[in-house]
Protein backbone atom coordinates (compact mmCIF):
# COMPACT_ATOMS: atom_id res chain seq x y z
CA UNK A 1 0.00 0.00 0.00
CA UNK A 2 1.32 3.44 -0.93
CA UNK A 3 0.92 6.14 1.71
CA UNK A 4 -0.27 9.56 0.56
CA UNK A 5 -1.57 11.05 3.81
CA UNK A 6 -0.61 10.72 7.45
CA UNK A 7 -4.09 9.53 8.38
CA UNK A 8 -3.33 6.37 6.36
CA UNK A 9 -0.33 5.51 8.57
CA UNK A 10 -0.84 3.03 11.38
CA UNK A 11 1.25 2.66 14.52
CA UNK A 12 3.31 -0.52 14.25
CA UNK A 13 2.82 -0.67 10.48
CA UNK A 14 5.59 -2.49 8.66
CA UNK A 15 6.92 -0.88 5.50
CA UNK A 16 7.20 -3.14 2.44
CA UNK A 17 10.54 -4.97 2.61
CA UNK A 18 13.12 -3.47 0.26
CA UNK A 19 15.89 -5.47 -1.40
CA UNK A 20 18.67 -3.03 -2.34
CA UNK A 21 20.94 -3.48 -5.33
CA UNK A 22 24.38 -4.19 -3.80
CA UNK A 23 25.97 -5.32 -7.08
CA UNK A 24 29.49 -4.11 -7.76
CA UNK A 25 28.35 -2.13 -10.81
CA UNK A 26 25.70 -0.31 -8.80
CA UNK A 27 28.04 0.40 -5.89
CA UNK A 28 30.60 1.78 -8.35
CA UNK A 29 27.90 4.03 -9.83
CA UNK A 30 27.02 5.30 -6.37
CA UNK A 31 30.62 5.72 -5.23
CA UNK A 32 31.52 7.73 -8.33
CA UNK A 33 28.48 10.02 -7.94
CA UNK A 34 29.16 10.52 -4.24
CA UNK A 35 32.90 11.09 -4.64
CA UNK A 36 33.67 7.97 -2.59
CA UNK A 37 35.22 5.82 -5.33
CA UNK A 38 38.03 4.35 -3.21
CA UNK A 39 39.16 0.79 -4.03
CA UNK A 40 37.71 -0.65 -0.83
CA UNK A 41 34.27 0.17 -2.25
CA UNK A 42 34.85 -0.61 -5.92
CA UNK A 43 37.23 -3.59 -6.07
CA UNK A 44 36.89 -6.89 -4.16
CA UNK A 45 40.57 -7.79 -4.48
CA UNK A 46 41.76 -4.39 -3.31
CA UNK A 47 39.40 -4.59 -0.33
CA UNK A 48 40.66 -8.07 0.57
CA UNK A 49 44.21 -6.76 0.39
CA UNK A 50 43.17 -4.34 3.17
CA UNK A 51 41.99 -7.28 5.27
CA UNK A 52 38.32 -6.78 4.52
CA UNK A 53 36.02 -9.68 3.56
CA UNK A 54 35.28 -8.01 0.22
CA UNK A 55 34.38 -4.63 -1.24
CA UNK A 56 32.19 -2.63 1.14
CA UNK A 57 28.91 -0.92 0.44
CA UNK A 58 29.64 2.63 1.66
CA UNK A 59 27.80 3.46 4.86
CA UNK A 60 26.27 6.50 3.19
CA UNK A 61 24.84 4.20 0.50
CA UNK A 62 23.13 2.11 3.17
CA UNK A 63 21.75 5.37 4.54
CA UNK A 64 20.52 6.20 1.03
CA UNK A 65 18.82 2.77 0.77
CA UNK A 66 16.83 3.61 3.92
CA UNK A 67 15.64 6.90 2.44
CA UNK A 68 14.69 5.24 -0.85
CA UNK A 69 12.71 2.60 1.00
CA UNK A 70 10.70 5.30 2.77
CA UNK A 71 9.96 7.07 -0.51
CA UNK A 72 8.78 3.81 -2.10
CA UNK A 73 6.28 3.48 0.75
CA UNK A 74 5.30 7.18 0.93
CA UNK A 75 6.35 8.89 -2.32
CA UNK A 76 5.66 12.45 -1.14
CA UNK A 77 7.18 12.01 2.31
CA UNK A 78 9.71 14.64 3.33
CA UNK A 79 12.51 12.98 5.27
CA UNK A 80 13.61 15.39 7.98
CA UNK A 81 16.42 13.26 9.36
CA UNK A 82 17.94 9.82 9.07
CA UNK A 83 20.25 8.55 11.80
CA UNK A 84 22.19 5.37 11.07
CA UNK A 85 24.43 3.16 13.20
CA UNK A 86 26.88 0.93 11.34
CA UNK A 87 27.02 -2.28 13.39
CA UNK A 88 28.88 -4.45 10.88
CA UNK A 89 30.07 -4.21 7.26
CA UNK A 90 27.65 -4.52 4.35
CA UNK A 91 29.46 -6.43 1.62
CA UNK A 92 29.11 -5.83 -2.11
CA UNK A 93 27.42 -8.59 -4.15
CA UNK A 94 25.78 -10.12 -1.07
CA UNK A 95 22.00 -10.09 -0.57
CA UNK A 96 20.40 -7.88 2.08
CA UNK A 97 16.88 -6.96 3.03
CA UNK A 98 15.70 -3.75 4.65
CA UNK A 99 12.78 -3.69 7.06
CA UNK A 100 11.00 -0.76 8.61
CA UNK A 101 8.33 -0.26 11.24
CA UNK A 102 6.38 2.82 12.30
CA UNK A 103 7.16 3.53 15.96
CA UNK A 104 5.41 6.86 16.51
CA UNK A 105 2.86 9.10 14.80
CA UNK A 106 2.26 12.77 15.59
CA UNK A 107 -0.69 13.49 13.35
CA UNK A 108 -0.95 17.13 14.45
CA UNK A 109 2.66 17.88 13.54
CA UNK A 110 2.55 15.55 10.53
CA UNK A 111 5.54 13.55 11.74
CA UNK A 112 6.13 9.80 11.64
CA UNK A 113 9.02 7.98 13.34
CA UNK A 114 10.33 4.84 11.66
CA UNK A 115 12.87 2.23 12.80
CA UNK A 116 14.84 0.63 9.97
CA UNK A 117 17.24 -2.32 9.79
CA UNK A 118 19.50 -3.72 7.10
CA UNK A 119 19.84 -7.49 7.59
CA UNK A 120 21.96 -10.08 5.85
CA UNK A 121 20.77 -13.54 4.77
CA UNK A 122 21.49 -14.92 8.24
CA UNK A 123 19.11 -12.33 9.69
CA UNK A 124 21.95 -10.41 11.35
CA UNK A 125 21.47 -6.64 11.59
CA UNK A 126 24.31 -4.79 9.83
CA UNK A 127 22.87 -1.27 9.91
CA UNK A 128 20.25 0.16 12.21
CA UNK A 129 18.51 3.44 11.52
CA UNK A 130 15.79 5.77 12.69
CA UNK A 131 14.05 8.36 10.57
CA UNK A 132 11.69 11.24 11.15
CA UNK A 133 9.42 11.80 8.19
CA UNK A 134 6.86 14.46 7.48
CA UNK A 135 3.72 13.26 5.73
CA UNK A 136 1.04 15.85 5.23
CA UNK A 137 -2.64 15.33 4.73
CA UNK A 138 -3.59 16.72 1.31
CA UNK A 139 -5.50 19.67 2.82
CA UNK A 140 -2.61 20.75 5.10
Amino acid sequence: MTINRISDVEFGEELPVFTPDTSLDNVRRFATAAGWAGPRFTDHEAARAEGLPGALVPGIMSQGFLAAMIHRWAPEAQIKNVDTVFRAPVIVDQPYTISGVVTDIDEEAGNVEIDLTVNNEAGETRVFGTATVRISNPSS
Partner: protein
Protein backbone atom coordinates in the same frame (compact mmCIF):
# COMPACT_ATOMS: atom_id res chain seq x y z
CA UNK B 1 41.88 10.72 28.53
CA UNK B 2 40.17 13.72 30.12
CA UNK B 3 36.98 13.94 28.04
CA UNK B 4 35.70 17.04 29.81
CA UNK B 5 38.95 18.90 29.05
CA UNK B 6 38.70 17.88 25.37
CA UNK B 7 35.12 19.13 25.24
CA UNK B 8 36.13 22.42 26.78
CA UNK B 9 38.93 22.94 24.29
CA UNK B 10 37.47 21.60 21.03
CA UNK B 11 33.67 21.35 21.03
CA UNK B 12 31.55 23.56 18.74
CA UNK B 13 34.48 25.38 17.12
CA UNK B 14 34.62 25.26 13.31
CA UNK B 15 37.87 23.64 12.19
CA UNK B 16 37.23 23.17 8.47
CA UNK B 17 35.48 24.88 5.57
CA UNK B 18 34.98 23.43 2.10
CA UNK B 19 33.07 24.44 -1.03
CA UNK B 20 30.96 21.95 -2.98
CA UNK B 21 29.47 22.16 -6.47
CA UNK B 22 26.50 19.85 -6.87
CA UNK B 23 26.01 18.33 -10.31
CA UNK B 24 22.62 17.16 -11.62
CA UNK B 25 24.06 13.94 -13.06
CA UNK B 26 25.63 13.07 -9.71
CA UNK B 27 22.27 13.60 -8.00
CA UNK B 28 20.55 11.28 -10.50
CA UNK B 29 23.18 8.56 -10.20
CA UNK B 30 23.25 8.81 -6.41
CA UNK B 31 19.44 8.56 -6.30
CA UNK B 32 19.06 5.70 -8.78
CA UNK B 33 21.86 3.66 -7.18
CA UNK B 34 20.09 3.96 -3.82
CA UNK B 35 16.83 2.78 -5.37
CA UNK B 36 14.98 6.08 -5.40
CA UNK B 37 12.05 6.13 -7.83
CA UNK B 38 10.52 9.53 -7.03
CA UNK B 39 11.01 11.80 -10.09
CA UNK B 40 11.99 14.77 -7.95
CA UNK B 41 15.26 12.89 -7.28
CA UNK B 42 15.74 11.09 -10.58
CA UNK B 43 14.55 13.49 -13.29
CA UNK B 44 16.43 16.80 -13.74
CA UNK B 45 13.47 18.20 -15.70
CA UNK B 46 11.14 17.77 -12.70
CA UNK B 47 10.11 21.21 -11.35
CA UNK B 48 11.11 20.19 -7.81
CA UNK B 49 14.34 18.36 -8.78
CA UNK B 50 16.63 18.05 -5.76
CA UNK B 51 19.20 15.80 -4.13
CA UNK B 52 17.99 12.88 -2.00
CA UNK B 53 17.79 13.78 1.69
CA UNK B 54 20.98 11.93 2.65
CA UNK B 55 23.11 13.46 -0.12
CA UNK B 56 24.83 15.82 2.34
CA UNK B 57 26.46 12.80 4.01
CA UNK B 58 28.68 12.42 0.94
CA UNK B 59 30.45 15.75 1.51
CA UNK B 60 34.00 15.41 2.84
CA UNK B 61 35.67 17.78 5.26
CA UNK B 62 39.25 18.69 4.37
CA UNK B 63 40.47 17.75 7.85
CA UNK B 64 39.31 14.79 9.87
CA UNK B 65 39.98 16.37 13.26
CA UNK B 66 40.67 19.83 14.69
CA UNK B 67 44.27 20.96 14.64
CA UNK B 68 45.99 20.00 17.88
CA UNK B 69 43.43 17.32 18.80
CA UNK B 70 45.30 14.51 20.60
CA UNK B 71 45.50 11.03 19.12
CA UNK B 72 43.20 8.73 21.06
CA UNK B 73 44.81 5.28 21.22
CA UNK B 74 42.79 2.42 19.76
CA UNK B 75 41.10 1.18 16.64
CA UNK B 76 39.01 3.84 14.85
CA UNK B 77 35.90 2.92 12.86
CA UNK B 78 33.05 4.70 11.10
CA UNK B 79 30.26 4.33 13.62
CA UNK B 80 27.41 5.96 11.77
CA UNK B 81 25.98 8.88 9.86
CA UNK B 82 23.11 11.20 10.54
CA UNK B 83 21.61 13.61 8.02
CA UNK B 84 19.15 16.35 8.77
CA UNK B 85 17.60 18.31 5.93
CA UNK B 86 16.17 21.79 6.48
CA UNK B 87 15.87 22.89 2.83
CA UNK B 88 16.40 21.00 -0.45
CA UNK B 89 19.88 20.77 -1.97
CA UNK B 90 19.67 21.61 -5.67
CA UNK B 91 22.25 21.50 -8.46
CA UNK B 92 24.11 24.47 -9.87
CA UNK B 93 24.65 26.19 -6.54
CA UNK B 94 27.99 26.43 -4.78
CA UNK B 95 27.56 25.23 -1.19
CA UNK B 96 29.80 25.73 1.80
CA UNK B 97 30.30 23.09 4.48
CA UNK B 98 31.68 24.09 7.88
CA UNK B 99 32.71 21.34 10.26
CA UNK B 100 33.05 21.26 14.04
CA UNK B 101 33.42 18.64 16.71
CA UNK B 102 29.86 18.27 17.97
CA UNK B 103 30.21 15.72 20.77
CA UNK B 104 32.66 13.47 22.58
CA UNK B 105 31.55 10.70 24.91
CA UNK B 106 32.58 7.29 26.16
CA UNK B 107 30.78 3.98 26.55
CA UNK B 108 31.85 0.57 27.72
CA UNK B 109 30.71 -2.24 25.48
CA UNK B 110 31.26 -5.99 25.52
CA UNK B 111 34.59 -5.45 23.77
CA UNK B 112 35.73 -2.84 26.30
CA UNK B 113 35.86 0.96 26.53
CA UNK B 114 34.98 3.04 23.46
CA UNK B 115 35.30 6.73 22.72
CA UNK B 116 32.81 8.35 20.33
CA UNK B 117 33.66 11.49 18.37
CA UNK B 118 30.83 13.17 16.47
CA UNK B 119 31.87 15.56 13.70
CA UNK B 120 29.10 17.81 12.37
CA UNK B 121 29.20 19.54 8.99
CA UNK B 122 26.70 22.35 8.50
CA UNK B 123 25.92 23.05 4.85
CA UNK B 124 24.99 26.56 3.69
CA UNK B 125 23.85 28.06 0.40
CA UNK B 126 25.44 31.26 -1.01
CA UNK B 127 22.94 33.40 0.94
CA UNK B 128 24.07 31.85 4.21
CA UNK B 129 20.89 29.78 4.62
CA UNK B 130 21.59 26.48 6.36
CA UNK B 131 20.31 23.64 4.17
CA UNK B 132 21.44 20.56 6.03
CA UNK B 133 23.65 18.99 8.66
CA UNK B 134 25.64 15.81 8.27
CA UNK B 135 27.07 14.05 11.32
CA UNK B 136 29.84 11.48 11.19
CA UNK B 137 30.44 9.32 14.26
CA UNK B 138 33.87 7.82 14.74
CA UNK B 139 34.16 5.03 17.31
CA UNK B 140 37.57 4.34 18.82
CA UNK B 141 37.80 0.98 20.54
CA UNK B 142 40.55 0.54 23.06
CA UNK B 143 42.84 -2.26 21.96
CA UNK B 144 42.74 -5.35 24.22
CA UNK B 145 45.56 -5.37 26.77
CA UNK B 146 46.01 -1.60 26.66
Amino acid sequence: MDIEALKEEFLNKDFDEQSFDVDADDIVNFALACGEIAPRYTDPSHPDFQAPPTFASSFHAGRRMPEGFPKIPGLGMDGGKASSLKHPIRPGVRLVGRTHLHDIYTKTGRSGPMTFLVMRMEIYDPDGVQLATADTSVVIRERPGK
